[in-house]
Amino acid sequence: MKYGYYPGCTLKKNAASFEKSALHVMKAAGIEFREMKVWNCCGTSFGLTKDMLIHQIAPVRNILRARQEGFDAIVTLCSICYNTLKRADSFISSDSMVKRRITGFLDEYGPYEGGFPVFHLLEVLEDRIGLGAVSKLAIRPLSGLRAAAYYGCMLVRPAELGFDSMERPGRLRRFLKALGAEPVDFPLSTECCGAYHAVGEPATAAEFSRKIIDDARLRGAEIIVTGCPLCHHNLDRGQAEIIRAWPGFNPMPVMYFTQAAALAFGEPAAGLGFESNFAPPQVLLDRLAGAAAGREAPR
């Protein structure tokens, strides 16, 4: 299956480390992919306003372009792009009137009935590549790393668009296990990170993020792993705001699942963008370095 990689805006800027690590992982896993030649804004939250059909144009055009470029499916990294593209497609598929109007507006791409597959990279890795294969690729397994798998909202909600159970998802957990880590029990894995409040009401967002991080710590986690740039922003860089309000707060490292995978696949940490972290994942990096040294000693 040929995947059109749809990055979206954040991956090219704030979440560059997500993209960098994801490209390593996709290559290592042998996923046949290429970044789409032309893509535009996914449509983000505008897509939620159903009566404003014009807002569905952006996501549907992205899908039609992927089809035109000869891909069989779209693979995304950003949870919001994933959600928006899937939502727009499901919206036009379920209403023939809407479909007619939107595809009419985009008639240069030819007729479209809806249903072009849109995947999140985690889905591709688990369902297409297989966790057994992922385990085999993990030549430097994250043994003993107690990680909290954090989903946020957009990957699992609403039920008909999410890639897993809304309340008790397991994909990220299973993936981390395949990498050799020990995912902790983490009830707040789908609680709100504070989302866009980070812009207007940073104190509110900080309160939300703090609760999540404290719970992860309570469960014995040394690190939080996520698949959403906005969650990553709130949980990682948001810690500056948390410390402002709670000076005694201890930082907790946060990383993307692709960074964790790239490390496990043997990629050097230097190229994975950890320098942009507020709380660098030193625990993991030191441990991996130690384990590697230990392995090399008897030679």
Binding site: S165, M166, E167, R168, P187, L188, E191, D215, L218
Partner: protein, 1041 residues
Amino acid sequence: MTAPSTCVFICRCDAAGVDAQSAAALAEDVSAAFPDAAAHVVESGCSPRGIGGIVESARSLGCARVLVASCAPGLHMTAFRGMLANAGTAECLVVNPFPDGAGPAQRKKAFEAVRDAMGKLAPCAEPRREKPVPRALVVGGGVAGIQASLDIANAGYKVTLVEKESSIGGHMLQLSEVFPTLDCPQCIMTPKMVEVAQHDNIDLRACSEVEFIEGEAGKFRAVIRRKAAFIDWAKCTGCGECSAACPVEIYSDWDRGTARKKATSRPFAQAVPNKFRITKNGVSPCRAACPAACNAHGYVAFASQGKWAEAYSLITERIPFPGIVGRVCPHPCEDACHRRGVDQAVSICVLKRFVADRMRGREPLPVPAPDHGKKVAVVGAGPAGLTAALKLKLKGYKVCVFEASDRPGGMLVWGIPSYRLPRDVVRDELALPAKLGVEMHFNRRLGPDISVDGLRREFDAVVLALGAGKSWKLGIEGENLGGVTGAVEFLARVNRGEVASVRGRVLVIGGGNTAFDAARSAIRLGAENVTIAYRRSIEEMPANPGEVEGAGAEGVKIVFLATPLRILGDGKAGAVEFLRNELGPPDKTGRRRPVAVQGSEFRIEADLVVSAIGQAPDAPFLDNDARFAFRKTGALDVDMVTLQTGVKGVFAAGDVVSGPDTVVGAIASGMYVAESVDLFLTGADPSFGREPPALNVVEKPDLRAARAGERAKAAEKAPGARRGDFTEFDLGITEEQAIAEARRCLNCAGCCECMNCVKACEPKAVDHAMQDRFEEVEAGAVVLATGYDLYPVAKIEEYAPDPDVIDGLQFERLLCPSGPTDGRVLRPSDGKEPKDVVLVACAGSRDPEHHKPYCSRVCCLYSTKLAMLYRHAVHGGKVHYFYIDVRTDGKMYEEFYQRAQQEEGVNYVKGKVSKIYRVGDRLRVLGADLLAGKSVSVDADMVVLAMAMVPNQAGIDLGRKLGIAMNEHGFMTEQHGLLMPLESSRPGFFFAGTCQGPKDIPECVAHASGTAGRVLSFFGRKSRPAEVKKEPASAVAGQGS
């Protein structure tokens, strides 16, 4: 003009939306199609004037058959029929011609509906005049079924009451107290239950299910499955001795998991009928896996109760030497154990050893049957021979054992090293046959001292249990050099004490347990360097993993994928040359075949080379006897069904037949051959009926009652201290460990068939072979009272699965004075008294997006009651009650609610709970307080969910089988929601209680009494022509208005 045979009355009225034109058009079409029928349009046919007109016309026209085309046939049928029957009409049907509204577009459809109904009317010209069978079949023995049964029976009609559980009473009996009166349900219900049991007109069929019902209203034939209770209820006195004797504890449905029950049990002390029942799910996999068919589940169950003597007796029924087998068995039972799916297998083998060690010196002696004079000779005193000897002795034979060496045991003493199997254990256990009177003759060799023919002349039968005492040759160059020996020969010399020490480098070739025995013995004798070479990889290695691990710990090196080419040396072995292998495709044994890599030769230096690649019988005296044939493996060729050799009356068992096998395999073989000999000597055909019984092995165990716990680990001597030490290094487990280990058993089969209940039952009521029986019942009407269940807690994913997150019925059990905690509120996780309890109403109800859209009706009040009872039971306990809104639409309900709020201090919080999860030893409950307008977080010790009421699954299944209409949630649909709420869609089937929709207790009782009234009026009606006849279902199908 002759009288028309049929009158068709077409009803026109504005309420039903039938305009004059449509009605007239229909009359015209009917007249055209049926020339001898009269079609009339009637204004408002259901009004007194309309119906009067219809009756008058029918009477004046002298019509035998009438068809009324009107709305709502289900509702109108009875009225029209009654009136017309009085006017002398024999047949009447009502059909709705305009289910989708009248109008020109519907003309064709309307005509077709009437035409079809006319077709149904015609064949009914000869009505039957039977009275209904005066018996009601009531399905379900909850409060509704009990009430309906009593009402019908008290009116003088017979009732058959079928209940799937072993007692009637239903969910009501599980409750602690009932709102709003706070009566004790046991106190108010048991009199009714006893009345049912003693009523002359009621036949109670508990532990039974309806298989199917055929026939029609007035005359049904039902087949009832009387499920096997494995206890004959005609004899059972309800004394409970069987339950006290039962060693198995399983999940209790009655206590909803708040307690365990015995596999032999009754749900509660006041059960009606007061009879016991045994839960059987099949055969436990451990038991099925044992070559000797030892009841592993049974003795593990006894061990869980610390009943060591019972455990010992059960083991020795199949394995006479438990201390030996408990030490050396490769335990296939543990490979089959379902506990592996949870964590690790139950340590069954170690438990067997513990039981044997514990009973040592106190073993009960079995009593042989009286001697009947027939004589059997057994050659070989290994495990197979001695087992056969013992078993035959117990059957009353005179048995003589001839053994070549000076002591019993065979491979147990000459093959297995003493650090694995201490000699005192072997000596003591193998003394049993002699103790029972088996004659033992030592130093008597087959060949030089005795002969098969000689024995055959002297004895009625002979069993050859010669073992496999000769190592296979490697078949390579240099095998005759000094320092090269077979493993069996090496071990025999070691065990005879002929090898004081081993020096230098030892190389063992092979991968079975014998290879490891040789290697680990060599280590103990002081060898500096011991290596095992095996031609395949560790995956294919037949030795026990424990051996591999233990040998590794003691310093034995293992070289995989090596095939020996030649032994090098000058007069004495110095090294072995090997070829490196790769693994090819699997061979006949399923193991991957080693393929040599050319040019990959390498050497391993060795002063002593031990070949351990297999064993064959050492019986040269049989080789020249044409009557005995040998297979390629060297094993004696016998009839595999009877184990009889070429000589009649001469049988063989153990390794001589199978090649080197396990001790338990030898014992199984000994048992089997004893059976053959017995059949042979009693004149039966020993090949008849010898197929192993087909076992219904449990595939999915019930994990709900699984206890947590790690597999027991036996104490061991430190590996470093084992050099030079031939005493046992595995020190076994403690009694405490043994009980804890046995309690890890999942009791897959339910009943373990230890037969302790059979021994305990004085009236001899227990019958483990009982089968389901079928009974036929004729009935005029059927009342379905199949009841409800609770929507499962697990369906609400935002509430974490946790032992302290329970449903309302579980809390009822915890509060019930006769419940598992005697009414003390103790939370399930740790038995502590919860000081903060959160109640969540509408858990799964009123949630159309994710769960059930409907209101379950009883939760507001029963949660209020639970809150009150909890407050009474736990001093200073706090209750937080989350609700959407509190609905108190019942007599005294609002007062009850206000009392809880104002006098009992229950804290009602308006809002839903969004998440429940554990934080430390408490539960965090996140929710909303809508009155305060904020989100709240409550930390509680226990959470009780008032789960939605859903129809009982057995009721849904039965409804489907019977073709009863049900809504999308499985609640049964009334014939008319408002006016015929007690009749199901199928004539003659009524319902009572919650199978029709959520109800509280007084509603159920009223509903059931109403249903009983309907049944009675059906039974009591005067016989009339139109009474009992085939109801053409499609004629009423159009009741859409």
